[in-house]
């Protein structure tokens, strides 16, 4: 069980654009990609992180023929997963390669349209629109399209889903069950989540302000992010880093709220650190979950402060760029953390002015900072149901060109 697992390819789509290059330039620009919602009609006045392409445009980009109701989740996921595979440069013939994807809304955008008709008359609504409803449908479609079917599954632990998909993939490679896995997550904006988070009163009408004293909620986003994970036997174009540690823990406090002392997040981070064999001072950057809700940031801040005994490494929430991409967040933000690790940048935490009351003096990275060599980065994703998952990516010396 000591096998190293490497990241050999990256793919992402967010409000900042399609492809990992768009993510890098978006983060370097320091400009938010958040804006008003245009994808569908809603009575809510919200700011969101929309991918600026219609479904038709996304289908063309992904090389799909028209005439089918692809869910937006499927389209975003296919674009990002195909990019991760292509980036690896691997010829998949003869490899045991799997696809493990996370999603929390699945094909809800299409199901909502179906339901508008069905709700009026239970004999109405086009059944074909429902084929993509189940969370597994987008995963299955993408896996078949990319021919990565040695093992295919879908994980839904709400907003921590994609980190769990990356963990599952890493563990299957370590256990010798697969040679490579494309793992991450995809979620699209839909009425269901806009209304859901609105009903909980945790959407900010302004731009979100993660880890700021005046924060008052999150902005929803959409997108997809995947890593091409592989064993040392698989030859890829480059090796970005290793997956050095990870842990999944449960806060076991409340279905939607986090505990004041951040038990779950502390256990996830400390578990990942313990597995990696690294010390707290080896962590050069944390991409925090940092949704911008009063509860999450307080709980996560307290847990980070406890783990690092007050000496907190540079950290930021990138949700001010993309919004909260829910089930995709762990995939997208793992990619941001890896770009930080390999490019030597610390990403700014947009809209920060004053530190949170619960951890006075806890200040995130405010401006884009170029550092020298980075050793290791930590990324957090936490979700409803107390699900907390953290991953540490480490610079792989041998992968340096």
């Amino acid at each position: 069980m000591t096998k190293e697992v490497y990241v050999g390819g990256l793919g992402a789509v967010t409000a900042m654009g399609v492809g990992r290059a768009a993510q890098l330039s978006g983060l370097i620009s320091g400009e938010t990609a958040l804006g008003p919602l245009t994808l569908f009609d809603t009575s809510h006045d919200v700011i969101v992180g929309e991918v600026k392409h219609s479904n038709r445009e996304l289908a063309v980009l992904a090389g799909l023929n028209g005439g089918r109701d692809y869910s937006r989740t499927t389209l975003l996921g296919l674009l990002a997963a195909a990019e991760a595979l292509e980036d690896s440069g691997v010829n998949i013939n003869g490899l045991r390669i799997g696809f493990i994807s996370a999603t929390s809304v699945g094909g809800m955008d299409v199901s909502e349209n179906f339901y508008c008709h069905y709700n009026k008359d239970s004999n109405r609504g086009r059944l074909r629109q429902l084929m993509g409803h189940d969370c597994g449908a987008s995963t299955q479609f993408i896996a078949e399209r990319l021919r990565t079917e040695s093992f295919v599954t879908t994980i839904n632990t709400a907003c921590s889903s994609a980190n769990n998909a990356i963990m599952m993939g890493t563990r299957m490679i370590k256990a010798g069950l697969l040679d490579a896995v494309i793992a991450g997550g995809t979620d699209s904006l839909c009425r269901f989540t806009v209304n859901g988070f609105s009903s909980l009163g945790i959407l900010d009408r302004e731009q979100c302000r993660p880890f700021d004293a005046t924060r008052s909620g999150l902005n929803l986003g959409e997108g997809a992010g995947y890593l091409f994970l592989h064993s040392s036997d698989v030859k890829t174009t480059r090796r970005y880093c290793t997956v050095a540690g990870y842990a999944n823990a449960n806060d076991a406090f409340h279905q939607t709220a986090s505990s004041a002392d951040g038990t779950g997040s502390y256990l996830a981070m400390s578990g990942a650190l313990e597995m990696s064999g690294l010390n707290v001072n080896d962590i050069d950057y944390i991409n925090v979950h940092g949704t911008g809700t009063p509860n999450n940031d307080a709980s996560e801040g307290v847990a980070i402060n406890r783990l690092f005994a007050g000496d907190v490494p540079p950290f930021s929430s990138t949700k001010g760029f993309t919004g909260h991409t829910l089930g995709a967040a762990g995939g997208v933000e793992s990619l941001f953390a890896i770009l930080s690790l390999t490019q030597g940048y610390l990403w700014p935490n947009l809209n920060f002015k004053e530190s949170i009351e619960e951890v006075p003096g806890m200040v995130p990275v405010i401006e884009l900072t170029k550092k020298g060599e980075m050793r290791a980065v930590l990324t957090n994703s936490f979700g409803f149901g107390g699900n907390c998952s953290s991953i540490i990516f480490k610079q792989d010396k041998r992968s340096q060109l």
Binding site: S122, N123, G136, F151, I155, N156, R171, N195, D251
Partner: protein, 306 residues
């Protein structure tokens, strides 16, 4: 195929089959024994009550309420709450919505609620991949056991709401399949305990549209790798109607278990429960093969040993 060594140290199942009317008439377990707070119980959808209770019943049967991982699988997820929230969006024109059904609509609700009730801070994961969701949870459990976990609570559940029943009816599913829903949980461990009822020794997961012949071939391979054959099995629990005749013709004790539980994405969990139940009256060293297919979506083989 995946070899594993997972002892089953506790288990429980709750199932309902037949039409909506018939399912409603079937007796329910006494949920208040497991979810004592009447208000909490009332706010929970049917699947949440069923899921939590069967999980706690499985722990009870193991004689120990401790767990160090919770892994669940569900193909359909929490449909009733999802639908309730969708209707409220439409009916109330997006205004003054009650978040309760939104909160309970995510597929990880049951795994999370179990952790909450047990104050369990350990690993917690939920698989939502249609007809192979439960099998994915078992694969995760087998890795957790290899990684040193001792008491893994693993289960599969699905609810057949009226809407789901109507939609599957419009798709013609009930012409060939029996309506059903249920929740089944197991306490799994790499170590044999005083209450061990058997162990899962192999699992083979197959993708879409697998033929009867392919399943027979894979079954033979799985058994031959352990020096066994179909005729040496104590029984075949067959969750695929078209295959049952093949084993009956070989004079093998064969049970089409979907007559009891009906068809739903995680019905393999019931098949496993029934298999272990059969082994309880059986001799040490006996094997049962569980074959499951969910519509055309996914098929699996599980081999269990007493």
């Amino acid at each position: 195929m995946r070899e594993m060594n997972l002892y089953i140290n506790g288990m429980a199942t709750i199932n309902f089959s037949g039409t909506a009317q018939e399912r409603l008439l079937q007796p329910e377990p006494d949920y208040k024994l497991y979810i004592p707070d009447a208000g909490v119980r009332r706010r929970m959808s049917r699947i949440i009550r069923m899921g939590i209770s069967s999980a706690l019943m499985a722990l009870e049967s193991s004689g120990d309420s401790r767990t160090d991982a919770i892994v669940t699988g569900t193909g359909w997820g929490c449909l009733a709450d999802t639908e309730k929230f969708l209707i409220s969006i439409l009916d109330n024109n997006e205004r003054m919505l009650n978040p309760a059904s939104f909160i309970q609509s995510t597929s990880n609700t049951i795994g999370a609620q179990i952790a909450l009730m047990l104050s369990d801070n350990h690993y917690n994961n939920t698989f939502v991949h249609g007809g192979s969701s439960f099998e994915a949870a078992i694969i995760d459990a087998s890795m957790l056991a290899m990684e040193g976990r001792e008491r893994i609570l693993a289960g599969g559940f699905d609810e057949l709401t009226l809407t789901k029943e109507n939609l599957l009816n419009r798709m013609g599913i009930w012409r060939k399949h029996i309506r059903g829903e249920g929740s089944t949980f197991f306490v799994l461990s790499p170590s044999k305990g005083a209450r061990s009822m058997g162990k899962i020794v192999a699992l083979d997961l197959m993708g879409k549209d697998v033929s009867d012949n392919e399943i027979i071939k894979r079954g033979k391979e799985l058994l031959e790798s352990r020096g066994l054959s179909f005729s040496s099995l104590r029984a075949v629990l067959c969750g695929r109607d078209s295959l049952c005749g093949y084993f009956q013709d070989m004079k093998i004790d064969t049970e089409y278990y979907k007559l009891s539980c009906g068809e739903y994405p995680t019905s393999a969990a019931y098949g496993l429960w029934r298999g272990v139940d059969l082994l309880s009256n059986s001799d040490s060293g006996d094997y049962v093969l569980i074959i499951n297919s969910y519509l055309g979506e996914a098929s699996s083989l599980m081999l269990i040993e007493k």
